[in-house]
Amino acid sequence: MFLKLEFQEHKLSSAGLSSATRYLLGILITVLSAALAFVIIRSEKAAPDLATLATNKLNLSGVENPVTAVLLNFRSYDTLLEIAVLLIVAVSILPDRLPIPAATAKIQFLSNMHPHSVNPVLVGLLKWLIPLAIVMGGYLLWTGAYTPGGAFQAGAVVAGAGVALSLAGHHRFIWQTASVRISLSLGLLMFVMVAAANAIITGTTLQYPTPYAGSFILIIEVAATVSIAATLLLLFTQLKAMVEFTMKGNNQ
């Protein structure tokens, strides 16, 4: 069923299987999901004692928002692994060869391409939009402790700013610089450092001393935001570059 992988868009019959097998497959899956649904309907849900446990433990977690508490305190180990997953994708997509010959000068992460045709409206918009986005990111990061928000949402917004910048076409991001590598791995590095510190302070890893729980969480949140933003931006730019490259290849 997985054997057929198509990459050419122009193929008309995009269906992988012959119509007969598709039909049979459809029936089989509907039957299965119906059974599953029936089982779920018949079964009753467990008592929400975990929810009550989480709420009355909230005051110890150093944050008010229960989700952030769960994310960064009760089940912080999951988040640690999750950031590691992000690092995996970032590293695998990181371009290794320098597109331009190694310039003598120190390479900037963000460099101005000085395009000959500059669209004034676009430049004006960017001037306003990008700082706003960054501030908004900061705010989201901060409110994470109290209301839904946090590192991931903030990272996404900041990455949005970067995307806007690269779409404008005036600037180019160079991903071979050391600063990029550091920013990508910053989140995971800080998380591991904090975990190690806690292991020494409180004897068990990831157990924040209750008075300082809030500040530890904040440190992790900031680092995570930086990494998430960098990773998302990297993903977007690299995929865009790939698509442009094949487009150029096509119409040659």
Binding site: F2, K4, S14, A15, G16, E82, L239, M242
Partner: protein
Amino acid sequence: MTQDLLYSIAGIVLFGIGLFGVIAAAHIIRKLIAINIMGIGVFMVLLATARHGTITDPLPHAMVLTGIVVAVAGTALCLWLALQIHQLDNTTSKDQPQ
């Protein structure tokens, strides 16, 4: 038919559709979209369990958040691979027949 039960069933249905899509579709992008649909289906069931009448259980929310990030990571990697294959096909497709 409480509200969250409805959501759960919707989630299951989405999961089914996604599964069908992954198996049946041939093109890679269709498959990726189908996988995302399945992911969303699972997350819906997860969120449905979070709702206990008045009190909501934060744990499923955290799990969904993590799930989303992981889904994004997986999809990005698959896209990257697909594009690389696509690029290889185009540059070489001229001299070497597919």
